[in-house]
Amino acid sequence: MNDHDAIRPELVCPAGTPASLRTAVDAGADAVYCGFQNATNARNFAGLNFTPEEMETSVLYAHEHGAKVLLAANTFPPAGKTGLWKEAVDTAVGFGIDAIIVADIGVANYVKTQYPDQRLHLSVQAGAPSVEAIKYYCEEFGVRRVVLPRILTIPEITVLKKEIPCEIECFIFGNHGLMAEGRCSLTNYVTGLSTNMDGVCSPASHVKYEEDTKRNLTTRLGDFTIDCFSCTQNPGYPTICKGRYLAPHKQEGYYAFEEPISLNLARLLPELVKAGVHAFKIEGRQRSRAYVREVVSSWRKAVDDMMDGQDVELAHLLSLTEGHKQTQGAYENKRWR
């Protein structure tokens, strides 16, 4: 692609810890996204995320290296507890954060009224998959970028881009989910901890693995069996929507909701840019630093090659999700709906 009018897409990379943030920045990320060590972000896991001090030094580091930092404040404060989210916003703004990613209307409104110049991004957790939904948030709160739910096709994105006033960011790599984000209380149903309010999904604190004498492994979340693996299969993490269940007419277990697969849009790179996507998001705040380094530098090269008119080295990018079945999800067409 040698179109000088095409925007160079921003590479937005996950930072689960300060070391991961530095790794991503060093590997060529244009922006990194991260959260505080509490319920204000949707990856609220033990040992992950940033203290305020770490956030401050990380923002400095990123800026010194020409990268932006986006704060994930994308969960929903329950009534009576909005103070924590406001504090997160205040702290991040004080450190010079480049954008705040929100889902809750109350939080969006707080940012807009307290910090009218602060760039606001709409999280996938806001669940805005249509033109009108996006325009609603743009008009009400001055949202400058929307992260698309992973359920739109390329033709749909092209159409959408023409009708909305904000930038588009879409996921290109990482764990894939088909449940509508921001609208799931499966975890709360089983564990009493909420995805929307506490920022956890199938939390490790409720995970149990049991192996029988024949090395068959059963995975559980709380009181419910999520899956069972024979001795030759690799077990998966017991995420509820990725488990196997029985239905009245399906008496052998089947993936009732989805199979554990990984998103990889390497093949669709030029088309996505042509469709007007402003930024590419890589998922994976729980991944190892080594993974982050490899994935970010591979995608950095791919985007740079493409913008310079060279061929993108697909084979390597595709091999990054080795071990998981890959998918291009809905992006190509909607056959699976």
């Binding site: 689960g16 810890t17 300060p18 070391a19 991961s20 530095r22 896991f45 033990a46 040992g47 992950l48 764990n175 939390p203 490790a204 604190s205 995970v207 149990k208 693995y209 192996e211 492994l217 995975t219 690799n234 077990p235 998966g236 993490y237 017991p238 729980q286 991944r287 190892s288 630093r289 080594a290 993974y291 071990g323």
Partner: protein
């Protein structure tokens, strides 16, 4: 020890022998009391040079972790407390009660301390067996990941050039160069 590793590397990369074949004989008659001061030195060094690791463990700092390198003739008990860090070897049957247990081959465990193991992969791989307080294990992994360099490197450096060489060899075996 370093020479033994080099030999091991050439045999292993030729697909001739598993790592345990070299480690077991080298360590089998090992009286554990020789290991203890070494382990103490390692954990104190890490606590001193890597306070962020111990801070990140946070809510799980009082937990006891059993680390079981299944192809070695001992197990390790770890407590990642910033003030009273603990790392001790025990014979497998004599280990105390612990809050979480991580069992795996020496090389898989190395991956975990060397920053090469995903949070998700902890559970995907059959090579690691986790029991007890799963959240504490995830927290430990996340804390280990938040390090420039790695605990493996720090530990290896404690033993000078032979230590660093040994780690280099192990990483090669693991294809992490």
């Amino acid at each position: 020890m370093a020479i033994a590793f080099e030999e091991a590397e050439s045999h292993i990369s030729n697909g001739k022998t598993p790592l345990s074949a070299f480690l077991r004989p080298a360590l089998a008659p090992f009286p554990l009391f020789i290991l203890q001061p070494v382990l103490r030195r390692i954990v104190r060094h890490i606590a001193h040079t890597r306070p962020e690791l111990f801070n990140r463990i946070g809510p799980h700092k009082d937990k006891l972790f059993l680390i079981d390198p299944v192809n070695l003739p001992f197990v390790l008990v770890l407590q990642a407390h910033p003030d009273t860090p603990l790392l001790r070897a025990y014979r497998r049957r004599k280990a105390p009660r612990t809050d979480a247990q991580i069992a795996g081959t020496f090389l898989t465990l190395l991956d975990m301390v060397d920053g090469h193991l995903d949070g998700d992969a902890l559970f995907f791989t059959r090579e690691l067996h986790i029991e007890g307080d799963t959240e504490a294990v995830v927290c430990l992994r996340n804390a280990l990941d938040d390090l420039e360099g790695s605990v493996a490197e720090d530990t290896a450096s404690l033993f000078g050039p032979p230590g660093r060489q040994a780690l280099k060899v192990l990483r090669k075996i693991r294809n992490h160069e």
